[in-house]
Symmetry: D2
Subunit: 306 residues, 4 copies
């Protein structure tokens, strides 16, 4: 590329002023909105990083593809698809996917809150603590030992204490038998999952496994079956950026998942995984400067799958 | 590939019995539901065809990406995007994209009826007859002279005579100022567009232009700018198969557009264009056996972009 | 009553400044927004009038209960109820009563546009001109010879020329087979019906027939069966003031129907009919000062049925 | 009346076979679906009763007008109306009154679950136990000492244990700041309120206070201000029978409130209060035979307010 990653980060940093920190989770309101970092890891193991690549942040909704992978590993495609749909909902991330007073599991989508809460109940485990530990183990496996995967207890407590909307969604799932376990247990797993923290490198490494047919970049160790990596990439493309997925497909053109913690994990199949961090969000809940940086990266590196 | 195209068509033909001819357009009810044909055209110009590849059928909604291309050529991306959105609607192809008694142009999508009718009014021309002629010219340019691009007047008249739902959608667009011209004029263009007829080869050639960065396969002649081809491919991926787009992405993994005439145009970027015909539809309005055949083709030829 | 009707009209006239003339029908935008008139006709034939009682205006949606009466006279209760529902819709007067992409006739209501258009097709007659003439005859019968019942051709043409929303509603009714006749024919009857013009006296006389068990006040001549008068009064109470019906029931407490022409017809069962005119509307499309005047009248004359 | 109350109950008893006990609250599934009882109390103190008039049942949603009265007594009309709307919702009793991803307090209605839960938070009291005690005291005051007003602890526990839908509604209210207190505290008050038990006589006595301008029948003791009784009667008419209110207005024509426990409290203003019990419900959650009996009573006794 003619332009360096550092230069691209610098070019996009002014956009950080146009976004806003999310207001509804107190622990997320305290971030520094001017941050912007990026890490690129190619399938053959080359790493580039720039800007605030070493800042730790909570993964938030970027855990959703990992939740989905765990559910696929534990149940296979057919069982997962019988519990949640794969269509875009046409609605915001925290929407009630509810039509005409009926809740149809096929109207749920694992990339929005209601579907992801349902997916938590598909993870195998004796207790929801155990299920979460298995999810955390998978996250660490995908991100590799060098990634600093932790759980941010402050963020966890803040989300749990301010989780009325997610509770409403979960009790609705319970009403219609889509989750059968105790709602607070399921939500505790979900709130813990959202509070997993990492940095740009962690996201790039996970994204690169998805880009690399389920294999660890460099070593080529098989971590998840290639058909599951492909399944997740497809869903990331149609719904990973919430009701901004169509715009993202047109502008950037790669599978990606955003989180309200400011992260974006992008997957350029056969090419690289990308981790981005910039906590000021656009109105749909996606990192604003992060999306701009991905648009620039896609153009410079010709990453679009279209 | 180890399996021939002819064998794959044969393997999928039994699925034709599981679909249904569309009931709401009399002219489409008379087709032979057992037909299944396919044509593949690679970016370097190699052609394969099998089954009922030489049967002519009406293009129906597969004209939507061509309408979008014409609107992009006539107005550029920004103007088009100010008139229609690019997000999946989460609703059927003929849905009223109307929420809380308001019609927001950004909730329209050019791949579903309401958005496509709006796109008709973005084509340049002194009259709607002229606009349609320009659209037909573009279709012929993309499909090449060897494709039998015609207008099926029976289908046109049948749709015009049974177009109450599309009239409701168009008058709603008019109510909110999204179209300003005479509703019957706009619809006449739309009904004519849906009645364009071709065969599997025509769809494969158009699809291959999209797969080949806007260039004619073989000769490499530039027909549309590469960024417009990419724009259309992105939208085809997120919304081309209506509210079955997520399922199609997971199963097949390439940009595609279906029509209720039984056609599917698929785009394997950098690889090939594919034209499929099988008129028995699934409940979402997509060719049932055609989708199965594309699933098989994608697996055998490793076409998925994910 | 301690306060005269003239004094009550004077007390409420300042409210005319808080409303707005409807913007979407050019012919209605030209009215004088400061007008306020009232006419009361008791079941034993006593008449009071005050303010702008002698101004002529178009009846608009106040024709809906007359449409319903005609449909009841022509078909009986059971047939009418099989074509339209009787529940409040919870939505504005021109709403699309459409849920989850299905149109259920029981979600229509004859007091909102979509239901009233459907009711037009229940009137008996060889042509829609004849159906309208029968409706006009019934209106004149109910209002008596002394009422100046005419058709305002300017208003008719203005509504017909600006009727995109009603056309959208009618084509949707046609799509689902709820109306089977030509949409423009049905709408022509509907637009003519809305353009019937009268004054406060006309509304008071029609309202008094409904208040008087279907009999002409004074003479006691039976004009419509008492059970139909009661049926209409019940529907006026639950839905006559659109999505302001609950508020009107709480504040005023009598069956009533408003029109965007500024009229309100109120029915105090066993007591009187009331005609009000004041063309400046509240945001829900009901005459603002007219509603205030009815609130005052109800309190002074103890008219509430609750 | 030519027909005795006993004869009317007998005539309607066969309808008990057409209804169904509610499935979602285990404690209500055990009732005897063949029961039908009625009690009429006239404003001058005359009492008639027939059938299963002495069976005790849980009041369920019939507590909603009492909740509303308590909120009116504690806050006045303006404050109550700033927290909940008065329009019919056009949706079932347990609907999510949520449009386009926004919750507007004016779309709540105190006669459906979501609005009634919001009303609980308007009752004054140091704790929700105290608020419930005040509501229970008001219920006993309205029903008189002779009514057997109790709390059915089995029903309370059963509803609390199976209250996922109400929890979803309450957490949604909390999300939008319409309730600010602890959700489980508010719901505990609501579940207790629904579990208040009485018999037909209790409902007739409460209904008669509403029919008698807030005064105790017979003695004339003022229990609630007449304007509050009228306010409640108006809301019962437009929304008391859920999305069957329009049908009930047309068939019966008096303010009324049903509960899934099988009770209906009807109010014939100036005439009488009526208590009905028959636990087999129609699809909208209203007592099926009870509604038929009220239709017959209204015709025989000419009770319609229209």
């Amino acid at each position: 590329m003619g332009v360096s990653l550092e230069e691209m980060v610098a070019a996009c940093r002014p956009y950080t002023r146009q976004g806003q920190l999310p207001g509804y989770i107190p622990a997320l309101k305290q971030g520094d909105p001017s941050r912007l970092g990026a890490c690129l890891l190619s399938c053959d193991g080359r790493l580039s990083q720039a800007g605030d690549w070493d800042v730790s942040f909570s993964i938030q909704s970027i855990v959703k593809p990992i939740l989905l992978l765990q559910a696929l590993l534990d149940n296979g495609v057919d069982t997962v698809r019988s519990h949640v749909g794969v269509e875009a909902t046409g609605k915001p991330f925290d929407a009630i996917n509810y039509t005409d007073q009926v809740l149809d599991s096929q109207h749920l989508n694992p990339m929005v809150n209601m579907g992801a809460i349902a997916v938590c109940s598909l993870i195998r485990g004796g207790s929801y603590q155990e299920r979460f530990r298995r999810l955390l183990d998978l996250t660490r496996l995908l991100a590799g030992e060098e990634s600093r995967i932790q759980v941010n207890e402050d963020v966890y407590r803040s989300e749990k204490a301010n989780g009325s909307k997610n509770r409403a969604l979960a009790y609705l799932l319970k009403t219609y038998g889509i989750i059968r376990d105790d709602v607070e247990d399921v939500l505790d797993c979900y709130f813990h999952a959202c509070a997993i923290s990492t940095d740009c490198g962690g996201l790039a490494r996970i994204g690169c496994v998805l880009a690399n047919q389920g294999r660890r970049p460099g070593s080529g160790e098989a971590l998840v079956p290639p058909e599951y990596a492909r399944f997740v990439n497809a869903i990331l493309t149609t719904c990973g950026m919430y009701d901004g997925s169509g715009d993202f497909a047109v502008r950037v053109g790669v599978p990606a998942k955003s989180g309200v913690g400011g992260g974006i994990m992008a997957v350029a199949p056969g090419r690289m995984g990308i981790g981005i961090f910039s906590p000021a969000l656009d109105p749909k809940g996606n990192s604003l400067a992060g999306t701009r940086l991905l648009e620039l990266l896609s153009r410079e590196l010709d990453l679009s799958i279209f």
